[in-house]
Amino acid sequence: MSDKAKNNMIRTKRVKVQSVNRSKKKNYNLIVGGSITGVILLMILIGVFYTPYDPNAMDASAKFAGISMKHLMGCDNFGRDVFSRVLEGSRTTLIVAAGTVFIGTFFGVIIGALTGYYGGVVDEVLMRINDAIFAFPSILLALVFISIFGSGKYHVIIALGIAFIPSFARIVRSEFIKCKNMDYVKSAKLQGAGDFRIMFVHILPNTLTVLLSAIMIGFNNAVLAEAGMSFLGIGVQPPDASLGRMLSEAQSYLFRAPSYALFPGVIIILMVLGFSLLGDGLKDE
């Protein structure tokens, strides 16, 4: 009898301990990542309606002006306000990254769902092609595309988007293969749901956790890829400001005005850092 009483006590203790434990541990990744991302998004949003100066307005008297209250991040070689340009540049980078991830996810999900669900010869062929493209650095694919179709914001989005499809297709496909034999799919089939309904209403929501972390990683890769291409001068073209392009312009004046190079770089890092911490934090939740 006394044993039983003790055991019951242990059980209740265990339940309590776990709940105490959970509330005690703070998810720093989520907090820090969320704050960084939040601040940057807020800045970009403000930048849409208001920038201290016209990002493209040149002011010869302010050439290489240092950091001051007038120019928070100083001025570049044409006397343009770096802060205003950073605001606009991060917006461009964000749009390109979001567009890229959208194209990659959209087509990746469709291809991954169809190949994973149906399998067969089409799956084999598509996946071989997929593997071949996947084995390839995405920036190289984008370079081929750009050298054929020319540069510019939209071409960069399409080029990177296509280059990103295989990685998404791969992930979605393996999730669909995992899910397609689960009981809930079988029961949906018994109830007479069509293939497309099963794929996109029943299975897809169950792949969201995996897909979400892939989107987070993909977004970061897109930010870095866009910055890299614009840095090479084959990405976003003037008058669009872009963080990568600013860095490549700043590089020539690196020793004269280091702050001109530092700010756009730091913003890219914060963007990527915030998102990857946010992704890590969401995984832990």
């Binding site: 071949a132 390839f136 650095p137 081929v144 870095l224 910055a227 020793f255 770089g265 890219i268 911490l277």
Partner: protein, 313 residues
Amino acid sequence: MRYAGKKMITMFLTLFAVTLFVFLAFHVISGDPATSMLGTQATPERVEALREEMGLNDPVLVQYGRWALNFLKGDMGTSYSYRMPVSEMIAGKIPVTLTMTIMAFLLMVVISVPLGIYTARHAGGVVDRVIYMINQVIMAFPPFFAGILITLIFGRIFKLFTPGGYISYEKSITGFIGYLFFPSLAIALPKAAMAVKLLRSSVISESKLDYVRTAYSRGNRTGDVLYKHVLKNALIPVITFLGMALADMIAGSIIIEQVFSIPGLGRILLTSISNRDYPVVMAVIVCIAVLVLVVNMIVDIIYGLVDPRISVE
């Protein structure tokens, strides 16, 4: 061995697909090489004669075959802008890009493997947490910004190298390698940070598996359990990553060459893209593709050597 053979066949098939794709893509857009060589004032008869001479009237697949065969023989066509053989233009550039990438790869391994093992062994400790934070920031670095910062810190402040003072390997091998050290570091650092994170979590999750307990039950020391049992298992996912990272580094070197003014494949690729010098663009892309595919094949083979479960499947 059968596994390695299979991987090689896969590589050649992929190579075929990639080169065909590149050839077709540029064939469609590059317009008429005969016209671009003769200029727009040339008479249609002369253009037609040149087209016949260059074999441009043959079916596309025949043209591809001829191009691929010539490529294998080392004839990569003639540059539109410089009127010289493409092979001559890029032959000297390949060692530059290759050296830099291999150095970056070695740096990445040398930095990440000890750190990954150390942080895994001391997970939760102060050093582990500090390295975690540094890692997160470095992973967010675009390689070219790492390059800019390295130029600023090591070139300008510590004066360890002369920014822009590239030394050709024909002049001095040590000078060449010395100059390439910092660009290689810029490429290696972000990848090394990812590798540390991956190796750490891989070692930790392997250490929880049953065979580790078996190893302890036989009287193994903690270090022996780690190095004789856990490490080989933990490296399996890391090898895949290192392979992908190497492929990325080959492509990433294009950007870093710009930052450090290094005349490698990337430099010539960018000028040719802006000059619309398609034979050169094609040649460089195919060269990089071959490098990437060979790397992938080697990684696959190593993978099969390390993991006995693979070769059977």
